[in-house]
């Protein structure tokens, strides 16, 4: 019998002996027979399975931070010591009875009903949970972010118009009661009380911080041991090989506090590899120094995936198209790889040796990613079939510093055009130290085509990817030197 996993599910304390690699969706639907959480895809792409995960956060665990996540990719092991909320826990009257007509709905539920934002209803629990998660996690509500919060929820029936109307009215209804001068970065403990008063979440939520503190997490093993599979966000692992994971021994990155640290050191920003993508938007150094990176977040996956997917996972995953990796390549990132003996540094552009082949020894853990904090221009471009929640056909990033009309330093990267996330070394070199001109750009572009080796696949033909990369690199430079580029020349 394996170790027990202890956590709170809705209002109940749970001790489960299931394998830590069991996905929460199966735990809820099969083990608990809580069928309000729906299965639409098991690959993180539909949002029907969305649940909330509450984790002791600021104020020494006095405040529990809630995030919407996809339960189909969430291993039970990662729920340990946390508060798991399924649709049944969002409205306590749900558990009581469904026979009475006039049971109160939460404002989220009510607005969806009132706006007819429900047709077949299969997607609806997911939308309710995502929106509730948004209200819980955002200290200041705005329409755009609320829409982004449900961008990982697919509805095939409504065409979303009614959902957008419901969201707008929900925020209008609730924000009357919102404290507007509250600091965004400061998770105030009053937030939850307010949501309880507004009946967005039931009262038992107030007892959770105390109850979670009583659960001391024993920790499911040391992530450094060789034989274990390292699970970070699991958003890639649980899509690729869910059957294997229910049988393997796993170690969870989230259990190592060190991997979630952020610090500034010798003009470098050091980000723990276990930081999830969505957290990035709240890192002050990034917000101030590289706002374009933060602005690019909505182009990557969806809120619930970003709530889980880690920077380290994006890199170690070694997908030739990983968005974060492509950005980090252009930003000149250096990796800190750690094993029992110590830490070694590897520049990110030397980390990838071939398709999914890494400069990483067995047992080595990616501990952190260091970014030089330099003044410069940054641009990220991504084109996918669908703009959001889709893998790029081609993506590209550029970091360029300019002094007196001369390019001081340039770093270009591109994804989807080689077996690895590609640092465009030759074209970057070609640009460095030269005054910018259209001729120079043409030279650099020409070099790019010698550096890349795209192949035709479902994300596009080789020819398309070559053309698209040219367009995206042009797009970087249209942003950087709007006055020096003549569009007519390039079309």
């Amino acid at each position: 019998m394996s170790q027990m996993i202890r956590f709170i599910l809705n209002d109940d304390y749970i001790e489960s002996s299931l394998h830590p690699g069991t996905v929460v969706l199966d735990f809820l639907r099969q083990d608990q027979r809580l069928t309000g959480t729906k299965e639409g895809c098991r690959e993180g792409d539909c949002g029907a399975c969305t649940v909330l995960l509450g984790e002791p956060g600021a104020a020494g665990g006095q405040v529990v931070e809630y995030r919407a996540v996809n339960s189909c990719l969430l291993p039970l092991g990662d729920v340990e010591g946390k508060h798991l909320v399924s649709i049944e826990g969002v409205n306590p009257s749900t558990q009581v009875d469904d026979t009475v007509d006039a049971l109160p709905l939460t404002p989220v539920q009510q607005q969806l009903v009132d706006h007819g934002a429900i047709q077949c209803g299969f997607c609806t629990p997911g939308f309710v949970v995502s929106l509730t998660g948004y209200l819980l996690s955002a200290r200041r509500w705005d329409n755009e972010a609320a829409v982004d919060a449900v961008a990982g929820n697919i509805c095939r029936c409504t065409g979303y118009a009614s959902i957008k109307r419901a969201i707008a009215e929900l925020l209008a209804q609730l924000s009357g009661s919102q404290d507007s001068d509250e600091s965004t970065d400061n998770p105030s403990s009053g937030h939850l009380e307010r949501l309880v008063a507004l009946k967005v979440v039931p009262e038992y939520f107030l007892t959770i911080p105390r109850r979670l503190q009583a659960l001391t997490a024993p920790g499911l093993g040391d992530p450094r041991s060789r034989s274990r599979t390292v699970v970070a966000g699991g958003t890639d692992l649980f899509v690729q090989k869910p059957e294997e994971l229910v049988e393997s021994s796993l170690s969870f990155v989230s259990k190592t506090a060190e991997l979630r640290q952020i610090r500034v050191d010798k003009k470098r920003l050091i980000l723990g590899a276990g930081i999830c993508m969505e957290e990035v938007k709240d890192i002050p150094a990034l917000k101030d120094r590289i706002p374009q990176l933060v602005a690019a977040l909505p182009l990557i996956a969806s809120v619930p995936i970003r709530n889980r997917a880690t920077l380290g996972g994006n890199i170690v995953n070694a997908s030739p198209i990983g968005d974060f990796t492509i950005m980090l390549l252009a930003l000149g990132a250096v990796l800190g790889l750690k094993n029992g003996k110590g830490t070694r540094e590897v520049p990110l552009d030397r980390f990838f040796k071939g398709y999914k082949k890494l400069n990483k020894k067995p047992g080595e853990l990616l501990a952190w990613i260091a970014l030089p904090l330099e003044e410069g221009f940054f641009s990220f471009e991504k084109v996918s079939r669908r703009r959001h929640l889709d893998i790029a056909s081609v993506n590209s990033a550029a970091w360029i510093s300019v002094r007196d009309g001369r390019i001081e330093k340039a770093r270009l990267s591109a994804g989807g055009v080689a077996p690895i996330p590609l640092f465009l070394a030759r074209s970057s070199d070609c640009l460095t130290g030269r005054p910018f001109s259209e001729e120079l750009l043409e030279q650099a572009l020409t070099l790019i085509h010698e550096e890349i080796s795209p192949i035709s696949d479902v994300r596009g033909s080789e020819q398309y990817k070559r053309l698209l990369l040219r367009q995206l690199v042009l797009a970087h430079f249209f942003k950087l030197f709007p006055e020096k580029l003549h569009p007519e020349v390039w079309i």
Partner: protein, 767 residues
């Protein structure tokens, strides 16, 4: 909307098949399907699989007691493959185990060897080889041959439209429960309970009364559960009857995508002739429908393509031919619009090309040729209650087309790398099953002695709000509080011989039947009420908001008092009724008749912005005027319109089903097949309903809304072409849907790659 199940959905309490409590001894079923698109089965040995932990049985075609046949229109589709396989994903065997995981673990242990044969994926090639599922059909009006020489301009072209995955959020599933004496009850996610019942009976060698099929609700269907839900229900029933245990079969998303058919891809050739004034004189079109490996509903879909080949236009001379081509893809199936969109897309393409050739705007030609009252369709029916021109004009003025056009033109002059496009899309869509037999509906209404009302019909709720509309009908006829009425699940025990809930007719047919049943009861109630009131004439009795009136005068008698009186007088409080749409007929020998009870009309104006650097685009607006008639539930209808429009946009822009040359689906996951998300929707989506006229064929004069709005999405395609043209006025744009960012960029730059600066090599294609 208060009395439908919306609140249940928000709480996660609404149950779908996979949510039902699991009965004792439940076996989980998993399907082994063909890995080859075409071949002979050399070996099928389940010995090892049966020995796997938890596995109870592995069933193959040999285990079927009755007819191994699930085809609806043509008997050409076995439930489980026998000697040959004809597409990848064709079911070959069924594994039954204690848990789903155990069943899946046994899958690779079945030894299946197939001797592969060449696979055919291209419909034109299929036609060339004579691989047609049914003989070709041709609709003619006037004389095209004689007209070509009168035309000032004749334009020809080829048009391709792609397949579309239904992506109902709830995958296909069934739960089969064995009963006494080999009977079986099946809870299925089907739009067509009677069809499933018939197939299961035939398959198991039972009479239909030994098989009950019940549906509570579907998590979306869109046509994808009309014919294609049958196999899974039948497999579960087979397992249940053979193993004498309950069996659940619910497909995983990826299985659903690999196993089930989609909207038919079409490739078509057209020829259109006009005069210089922009009047269409003749139109000839050949449709090649890629039906896949079995007939499914393809011949009926093909027919609807022909019915809609001239779109919303009057064309005096038409010759339209359609080929139902058998290939080694999945059997393609019904999908919102049922072949209509594929037909309408081609004529819109023809008009676009003609406009370019004539130097006119497509809108001008579209408007000139719009259908008018009394015009004849190629199938001989005349347009009655034709609101095509009214909708068009109303859209033009309501959405200030002139101003919009000016704004778009100014934008295009002032922007180099961004262009806007604008397009009209008029829709005319025939309502009724084109297979006349199906135009019947049934209802069973009980008034219980406490005054509560239970209504069962043949209609299946799949999110289209039919339950709510039926409830509305019953409440209106009786004039009682909606709280008193409950609309039941759909069961073949309560309403027999039902038609599929499809063709947008669910409310029309079953609502009418409900109305008839309620009226029959109402008549009896009036008789009793007159007696209770000591009056003579039941005809003078009226119920208004629960109160009984006599001769216009309020009485003390209320519904809740009247009903128990009716019961004590031993008067029947139940009624069953049947409705058959009058007047519908069609003669396939002449290809003429009145296949529709009416047409739905409307017009959309679509606006897009194209990023000509990246090849990406945004839909700025879709603004619609749609003739709906008096609506039974305006909120529901608005939702149907908005949802249909976005689905249509998806079909034409984003949703691309790709197959390898060997017929393997390459886009069988949600990470590779993309449907619209909340961002991929028009920034402005406005739908204005016209409440025009009477529609004697709809309940309370309402009109069907399920399918017609889907086709407004076609306008987005042509708006995009307009934007492309604004960027590259000279180029000849290929008409191939979906217009993905890849297609857009390749259209914008593909023919000048060699001239582009910085593309690196002289011949960047490398070929």
């Amino acid at each position: 909307m208060k009395y439908s199940d919306l609140d249940l959905h928000t709480r996660g309490q609404a149950r779908f098949v996979d949510d039902l409590p699991e009965p004792e001894g439940l076996l989980h079923a998993v399907v082994l399907s063909s890995p080859a698109a075409h071949g002979r089965i050399i070996r099928l040995d389940a010995g090892k699989a049966v020995e796997t932990d938890g596995v109870h049985a592995v069933l193959t075609a040999d285990d079927i007691p009755g007819a191994n046949e699930i085809g609806t229109l043509v008997a050409d589709e076995p439930l489980l493959a026998e000697e040959t396989v004809h597409f990848i994903g064709q079911p070959v065997a069924l594994i039954l185990a204690d848990s789903e995981r155990q069943a899946r673990a046994a899958l690779p242990r079945i030894d299946l060897e197939i001797d592969e044969l060449p696979a055919l994926v291209d419909p034109r090639e299929a036609k060339a080889r004579g691989e047609l599922i049914v003989p070709p059909r041709t609709f003619c009006l006037g004389d095209v041959e004689a007209t070509w020489k009168e035309c000032d301009l004749v334009v020809e072209g080829t048009v391709d439209s792609g397949a579309q995955e239904h992506l109902y959020l709830e995958t296909q599933g069934s739960l089969a429960l064995p009963g006494e004496r080999g009977t079986v009850r099946v809870i299925s996610s089907t739009q067509r309970p009677t069809g499933v019942q018939r197939v299961i009976a035939r398959l198991l060698g039972l009479a239909m009364h030994q098989v009950e099929v019940e549906v509570t609700r579907l998590g979306g269907a869109f046509g994808g559960k009309e014919d294609q839900a049958t196999a899974w229900a039948a497999l579960a029933a087979l397992g249940a009857v053979i193993r004498k245990a309950p069996v659940k079969l619910v497909l995983h998303r990826q299985e659903d995508m690999i196993f089930t058919g989609k909207r038919h891809p079409y490739t078509s050739d057209f020829r259109i002739g006009l005069n210089y004034g922009g009047r269409i004189l003749a139109y000839e079109v050949d449709f090649y429908q890629n039906a896949g490996a079995a007939a499914d509903l393809s011949p009926a879909i093909l027919e609807r393509t022909l019915f809609h080949c001239t779109g919303s236009y009057f064309v005096p001379n038409v010759k339209a031919t359609a080929y139902c081509c058998r290939t080694n893809l999945l059997p393609n199936t019904a999908f919102r619009g049922f072949g209509g969109p594929q037909g309408m897309f081609v004529i819109e393409a023809a008009l676009f090309k003609a406009a370019v050739a004539l130097g006119m705007s497509p809108a001008e030609i579209q408007e000139k040729n719009l259908l008018e009252e009394g015009d004849t369709f190629p199938y001989g029916m005349t347009a009655r209650g034709c609101s095509a021109p009214v909708c068009w004009q109303e859209a033009k003025s309501r959405y200030d087309y002139k101003e919009t056009l000016k704004r778009v033109e100014e934008f295009n002059t002032s922007h180099v790398l961004e262009k806007k496009g604008l397009a009209f899309m008029p829709v005319c869509f025939g309502i009724s099953f084109t297979n006349a037999v199906l135009n019947q509906g049934g209802a069973l209404v009980h008034v219980y002695s406490d005054g509560s009302v239970s209504v069962s019909t043949g209609a299946v709720e799949m999110g289209q709000g039919v339950k709510y509309k039926i409830l509305e009908v019953a409440a209106r006829v009786f004039s009682i509080d909606r709280k008193r009425v409950k609309v039941e699940s759909t069961s073949t025990l309560r309403v027999a011989n039902t038609s599929p809930t499809a063709a947008s007719t669910g409310t029309d047919l079953n609502g009418k039947a409900t109305e008839l049943a309620c009226r029959a009861i109402l008549e009896r109630l009036k008789g009793v009420a007159a007696g209770e009131l000591g009056e003579e004439d039941p005809a003078k009795v009226e119920i208004l908001e629960e109160r009984i009136f006599y001769d216009g005068e309020k009485t003390k008698l209320m519904w809740e008092h009247l009903i128990p009186r009716v019961y004590s007088r031993r008067v029947n409080l139940s009624a069953q009724a049947h409705y058959a749409t009058p007047g519908i007929h069609f003669d396939k020998a002449t290809e003429k008749g009145e296949p529709f009870s009416y047409h739905a009309y409307g017009t959309a104006i679509c606006e897009v912005t194209l990023d000509c650097l990246r090849g990406t685009y945004e839909v700025d607006a879709v603004r619609v005027v749609h003739d709906l008639g008096p609506s039974l539930a305006p909120d529901v209808d608005l939702g149907q319109a908005e949802g249909g429009i976005v689905q249509g946009i998806g079909w034409l822009t984003l949703e691309e089903v790709l197959y390898s040359d060997q017929g393997r689906l390459l886009t069988g996951t949600l990470s590779t097949y993309k449907v619209p998300d909340i961002y991929h929707t028009p920034r402005e989506l406005e739908v204005h309903f016209l409440e025009r006229g009477e529609n004697p064929f709809g309940v309370f004069n309402s009109k069907a809304i399920g399918e017609p709005p889907f086709m407004y999405g076609i306008g987005v395609f042509f708006a995009l072409l307009g934007a492309i043209k604004a960027f590259r006025p000279g180029i000849d744009v290929p008409i191939t849907a979906p217009l993905t960012p890849e297609r857009v960029l390749m259209t914008l730059y593909g023919n000048r790659l060699a001239e582009l600066k910085g593309l690196g090599v002289e011949n960047p294609t490398g070929v």
